[in-house]
Symmetry: C2
Subunit: 207 residues, 2 copies
Amino acid sequence: MTTATSRAYDHVKQAILERAYPGGALLSEGEIASEVGVSRTPVREALLRLETEGLVRLYPKRGALVLPVSPQEISDVLETRELVETFTAGRATIGPELVAELTRLLEAMREHSGAADAKEFAHADRCFHRTLVAAAGNEILTQLYDSLRDRQLRMARLTASDPVRAADAIRDHSEILAAVRSGDRRRIRTAIHRHLQTATAALHGRS
Amino acid sequence: MTTATSRAYDHVKQAILERAYPGGALLSEGEIASEVGVSRTPVREALLRLETEGLVRLYPKRGALVLPVSPQEISDVLETRELVETFTAGRATIGPELVAELTRLLEAMREHSGAADAKEFAHADRCFHRTLVAAAGNEILTQLYDSLRDRQLRMARLTASDPVRAADAIRDHSEILAAVRSGDRRRIRTAIHRHLQTATAALHGRS
DNA sequence: GGCATACGTCTTGTATGTAACATAGATACA
DNA sequence: TGTATCTATGTTACATACAAGACGTATGCC
């Protein structure tokens, strides 16, 4: 069985990312504890962790405030994401395994590009980028990147349920993969930069 | 009065950074609790936080392992630090307050360059860099940078107690400050890059 | 001797109890 | 009316209790 702490963590994190706990809400440990069916202790540990991830802010004796997404946060996340992705693209170890993995993930995106599979699509999308970042071999940046993607999840309204955007994403990823295959790092960086530009524009166009 | 959790956190963190708890040591909550004079609960919260900072690793039902510094970690920290510093240098809002603050910190470094003030020297050094990073206005990167500096603390053998290295650092920082005054961003990045190169070399030369 | 098993010890994971703090709203008073 | 104070309620911060898991070691058996 999974631990009580991780159940509490997953529950709260998912609720925040899906806006079931909206930005600005003040959560109490006891309330969450009874929802999840555990005691307050594991809930408290989950909230502590979510605070370090930047999703909530703990106010002593008051409760846990679900941080509203601010323009500053959006800008910081996007800026940092671009920094990490372009940098790691310049350092990634490019080999047959990497190409094979990226190919597989791109294929998964194509398979799930229908409106019904939005969740799987988003997952493959995310894994694609993550794989590329991880290929640079820097664990600190890989972990940072993961937390950025989580935070970005809250910002997107209805990510990827739009077929046009799904098609855009597939096209962009194909270009990134082709660039990786070519081994031309400048081309990879350019492709990633362009991809993030379109993604950013879409985000701003809807928020 | 400060909270029990923060006392436990400070105690353990300092002990790890100063190698009082050496890499590879297995800590138990109860042991720390009695050292600090609090119950296990706040100790546990402190350890959880230190795990997210990459200083310890919690093994279920076993204890908290003080992570030994690995070559991989050294490389990741240095690489990430350079990435963050050079990037933020390119975005920092350069104004009179920034220049004044950096000047003040450089002055503090000069004041404390004697061997007796190693701690104050290191503190001013760190604040100098932190101020520059923060001037870019990206909270995510600023926070990341802080954690990198903590981790780097463990790697340096006897940081800055060497007068030659202190003089080197002051010279490098002067050049960075001059570059900031000039407003030439390329020059700032170059100065930072050179500074990190010498710092890295010193680190490797001794470890 | 060699192997499996049982046991004792250490440690955590989780629940629960308690006191102190923060706040909102009521109340008293000028 | 406006202000200060009191009180009721909700919430955490921390301590403590207890059960269960992980290991090292001894024990029994061949």
